[in-house]
Amino acid sequence: MNATARRPRKVVIAGYGMAGARLAENIRARDPRGERLSVTVVGAERHAAYNRVLLSSVVAGTLPRDAVTLHPESWAAEHDVTLRVGATVRGIDTAARTVSVHDPGGGPTALDYDALVLAQGSSPWIPPVDGLVHEDGSLAPGVCAFRTLDDCEEIAGRARAGTPVAVLGGGLLGIEAARGLAGRGCRVTVVHPHSHVMERQLDRGAGDVLAGTLAGYGIEFRTGTTAARYVPGDGVKLDDGGYVPADLVVVSAGVRPETGLAASAGLAVDRGILVDDCMRTSDPRVHAIGDCAQHPGTPPGLVQPAWDQAGVLADLLTGADSAGRYRGTAAVTRLKASGVDLASFGDVGSEPDSPEAEVVCLNDPARGRYAKLVLRDDLVTGGVLLGVPDAAANVAHHYTHRTPAPADRLAFLLGRALPEEAVRAPSPASMPGSVTVCECNNVPKSGLVDAWRRGARSVAGLAEATRATTGCGSCTGLVRGIADWLESTE
């Protein structure tokens, strides 16, 4: 190393979830030998980072817990990253640029930083329901949050075929949990305080169709009501007087960004930790990414913004692209629930009579389909596509890439779900002479007719005269049909 080499700047990442792990990876992709940055990652959970997106597959039982791990155990050592799992950051001294870290079983230690990144995500919000929480704050027996890998293992362990389950909260995660548990044979009831499920992503029409589809998997819904009291071993009493039997209560009533540490350090906090396009908090040496951060125009709770932010911040911290800025993510919400295909993005609230937007909408509750397309100047600005998977992919692609929508809005909206035009093969008699019968050898119907008139009076004869059928052979049936028709006309 030459004399002018400077010591690497110290980056401390508080949080080893999907955002923190991705940031560490991105930094090492740009600075593989650690010449520019030393990296320390502090993670509260005791195991390696895992892919939270796949947790619904763990609940559904299709993926074992090992399969959702993001990094092998050797990852940190191989990438020159200092990893402290099971440890928590308890305090930030922004003036001294140190954090205090509590290791399991040990006391607090101070860690210097040149740049601190808060990536602590969010924590489940437990609604104030009688009996749900012990006085010490721990959950009552039979109650699980739906946030961590450990939560999922506990849920999976309690969910037997026939087990009555109450899911508190019919948002995205609640619906995924409900569908996974229904797939395990549980008797699931979703309790949701709003008038329709997933109200943040869906308009009323879509929410109702979704509930109808899920009802087909045996899931019951109690909407417009909240849990009042939980009685272990019995069930949940609702504030409308109703009752839901439950041996297991899964709480998915929303999450709250982890802001306590930032707030106590004096950083500007609203719903989340406020950040600018450089992912800087109100202290320029402290950054925040992922669910704990609040960036204007970025919806919370999705991984794609967190990963986009990690990419920009890695560019900035390593100097790989000091002009890098995060401008928000055109997020698309996809429900991960077996047998249900739902995409939602952008402005879903506009109605067909909207004066500003062009809105195309189809509601087909009997077949579990609901499709709404919102456009401005030929660009897709919002959509809800339920039960039309092919269109969902295509429409979301146009939304993400801001490419003009096709002129045929209806076909665009319905994709392949639209019955294909009746493409019944024309009869040999009605088929125009110019139609190519044998693609491999470019033989039109008229060529076969001519050959017949010149004496080729069989399929073999026609093949010899025109080469039709001698390529891939798939037109043999059609040639036979034409031969039969010609014979019948003689």
Binding site: V53, R334, A392, A393, H397, G471
Partner: protein
């Protein structure tokens, strides 16, 4: 022992021969009949074509006596090519090569070969470069064809044999995934092998276009060009997440699943959907179709391979096949659909810059020792690995590049990416010599052109897409004045001071030498003889001795890595080399038409084929055409950062709106490769033919134009 023809035909007389088609790697069986003045071809029963033949095959005899045929050597004088005698032509080339080599070093002379050449020619060309010229600079157009699949196959299985099973095995599959393959159009008789799967509702086709093959699929996945690797990861993810992983197979026959899964775990179908545009539900359906099948295959071809991440993309598909336990299982597997007639054999015998005969690596000491001994030189006289095809072409005439180039069986002025730049580089050469049957666009630029024999006029072996070695037999005498490539090489080698016996001109003698040199290599041909091939024995390499029955399915017991296990390769997606922007808002992809082959040098000289597709076109979604103020049938320009191609607009409603398609068979201003990207795959050297950013414009010139063929003075 499997035979495909009765023994009594082995003494086929000249004038009537059971041979194989001159075009693609299916190498359809055909018989060639020469009667007074007329030569006709007809399909014959052979496993790959089942008695079928496409229009290219049917019309192949037209090239034997085509007016475009070269029948005399041409030597350039005062800027014009003039007919010359053979001695004059050979003397000129040998003298110029000798002088340039002496002045600038042996590496100043380069050789460029082709995947359509017979095994004998490929072998002789590699030997000629290394021994007679002493140059490291030899490569071939197979880099533009198979190299990514070859590299990925070697990584995964320890050996690259395009299809490690006979093509007829496909009939017994109830699911087949074709990634970037359009065989219904490019090798029509192959389509019959897909009917088993499509009859079981199990044919999955991955293609950005709704090709005739895609139209036959039970499930067509239509990803954005350049996103195939993301799609492969998404389908693998779906397969694992839905519990379809063949854990027993993965444990007993493979290594490195965990790191490969760790990458794929981040590519869940909904995320992949946003990149590819392929519905998550369809990714899951593809995974379910393959995993639920009794027998299933994953097959790749150029559409998925010709990318700057082509090797990793093929690894992505192989990882999927391995996760489902397909490769090395009877009735299932992974294979690559070879394109060029001898694409497989062409990469095995030493015309590739990093290889020696028998599919040996040129940087392996034992291989160098073996081959050098066979060739009667010292191992350190053998040059090392040279640059890959595009790197070789890109440096022509530059300070560090080749100053003189010999081209056999390739038309790089049309087929290389960034064709304008390559054409300019060819013009910068001190000396260019080309051997071809017609005056191709590359030959038209040469200082010396050798007129050479073609398929029905010579004996030679080809190795088809299933690794089966075939004997193409001479059926007719070549036109007077035409010599074989082997004679050209022999004539040059002797003039360069090599003994004639080191460069024999009889194909069978060359093949016998190839057999000896390949012995002990990965592609061991030592047990293959012309006699066995004439007897119709189905010999798939390796064939280590003359009693060996051949190896139709090499991986059933073990893979070719020393420990016998296959390898997952951890791959992840990062996107194509070039993205769209405001100036270049569309993606262009390139491909083939039924009526044409490769650069079109052959098929553009067949009237019947030109009547089918005689002009360059660009396929565009009608809305996209309208956006650029174009309509069907109008003359358009397609412009990338590298150049502009002229093409007539064809509105096709099934096109993606962000994608246009250009066929690559046309010359001059109609060369698709004027716009293609020159980004290369870091492992295979494969250029990114299949995606680049373009815009459309109106062509203000003459509109529909015929391609002017350069006249010979």
């Amino acid at each position: 022992m499997q035979t495909d023809q009765p023994a009594e035909v082995q003494a086929a007389a000249l004038g009537s021969a059971r041979t194989h088609c001159p075009y693609c790697a299916l190498q359809c069986g055909m018989s060639v009949e020469a009667t007074q003045g007329a030569v006709t071809v007809a399909p014959r029963e052979f496993p790959t074509n089942g008695g079928g033949l496409c229009q290219k095959g049917w019309t192949s005899a037209a090239l034997l006596d085509s007016p475009a045929r070269l029948t005399t050597p041409l030597v350039r004088e005062r800027g014009q090519l003039h007919p010359a005698g053979w001695d004059e032509a050979l003397d000129t080339v040998a003298a110029r090569l000798g002088r340039i080599g002496a002045e600038h070093g042996a590496d100043a002379v380069g050789v460029f070969g082709g995947g359509g050449l017979t095994n004998e020619k490929c072998y002789a060309l590699g030997k000629f470069a290394r021994v007679a010229l002493g140059t490291a600079n030899i490569d071939y157009n197979g880099r533009f064809c198979m190299s990514s699949a070859a590299a990925a196959g070697t990584r995964a299985f320890g050996m690259d044999r395009g299809m490690p099973f006979p093509v007829t095995d496909l009939a017994d599959a109830d699911a087949i995934l074709l990634a970037g393959a359009n065989p219904v159009e490019t090798m029509p008789p192959f389509a019959q092998h897909l009917s088993g799967a499509s009859g079981c509702e199990g044919l999955v086709v991955v293609d950005p276009r709704r090709t005739p093959t895609a139209a036959r699929a039970n499930l067509h996945l239509q990803p954005a060009p350049g996103t195939d690797l993301a799609l492969a990861l998404g389908i693998l993810h779906a397969a694992v997440a839905e519990g379809h992983l063949d854990t027993e197979y993965v444990r007993t026959r493979t290594d490195e699943f965990d790191p490969a899964w760790q990458q794929a775990a981040s590519w869940w179908p909904e995320r992949v959907e946003r990149i590819t545009g392929v519905a998550a539900a369809d990714q899951r359906r593809a995974a379910a179709m393959l995993s639920g099948a009794r027998n299933a295959y994953v097959l790749t071809a150029r559409g998925t391979e010709q990318h700057a991440d082509g090797t990793d993309t093929v690894s992505g598909w192989i990882n999927l096949a391995l996760a489902l336990g397909l490769p090395g299982r009877a009735g299932s597997g992974y294979g690559c659909l070879t394109g060029q007639g001898n694409g497989q054999g062409g990469r095995e015998h030493g015309q590739k810059s990093d290889q020696l005969p028998g599919y040996r690596r040129i940087d392996d000491a034992a291989s160098r020792e073996h081959v050098a001994r066979q060739w009667g030189i010292a191992p350190d006289e053998l040059p090392g690995a040279g640059p890959s095809a595009y790197e070789l072409l890109d440096a022509l005439g530059t300070e560090h590049g080749v100053k003189a180039l010999l081209v056999f069986g390739s038309n790089v002025a049309v087929s290389a990416p960034g064709a304008d730049r390559v054409t300019n580089r060819l013009a910068e050469l001190d000396f260019l010599a080309v051997a071809d049957i017609v005056l191709s666009e590359t030959a038209a630029m040469a200082d010396v052109v050798f007129p050479v024999t073609q398929w029905a006029e010579e004996d030679g072996t080809m190795t088809n897409l299933e690794g089966r070695v075939l004997l193409r037999r001479k059926a007719v005498d070549p036109p007077a004045g035409v010599r074989s490539d082997l004679e050209v090489l022999g004539g040059l080698a002797t003039r360069l001071g090599r003994p004639p016996e080191a460069f024999p001109c009889e194909p069978q003698r060359v093949f016998d030498e190839l057999r000896r040199v390949s012995a002990g290599g990965v592609a061991d041909y030592s047990g293959i003889t012309y006699e066995r091939l004439r007897d119709g024995v189905a010999l798939h390499w390796p064939v280590p001795d003359t009693d060996h029955p051949g190896t139709p399915r090499p991986f059933l017991d073990r893979f070719a890595h020393p420990d016998g296990r296959a390898r997952f390769v951890p791959v992840t997606y990062s996107g194509p080399a070039e993205e769209t922007d405001e100036d270049y808002p569309l993606l262009a992809t390139t491909g083939r038409l039924l009526a044409h082959y490769q650069s079109g040098a052959q098929t553009r000289n067949v009237d019947e084929l030109m009547a089918v597709d005689g002009e360059m076109f660009v396929e565009v979604h009608p809305d996209t055409a309208r956006r650029f103020d174009l309509s069907d049938g109008e003359a358009a320009t397609v412009t990338s950062r590298r150049g502009t191609v002229h093409a007539v607009v064809r509105c096709v409603a099934s096109m993606r709106m962000d994608t246009v398609f250009l066929p690559f068979h046309f010359p001059d201003d109609n060369r698709a490769n004027l716009v293609t990207s020159t980004a290369l795959d870091p492992v295979s050297g494969m250029p990114e033919f299949k995606v680049c950013a373009v815009r459309l414009g109106r062509h203000r010139g003459t509109g529909r134009q015929a391609s002017a063929r350069q006249e010979v003075a």
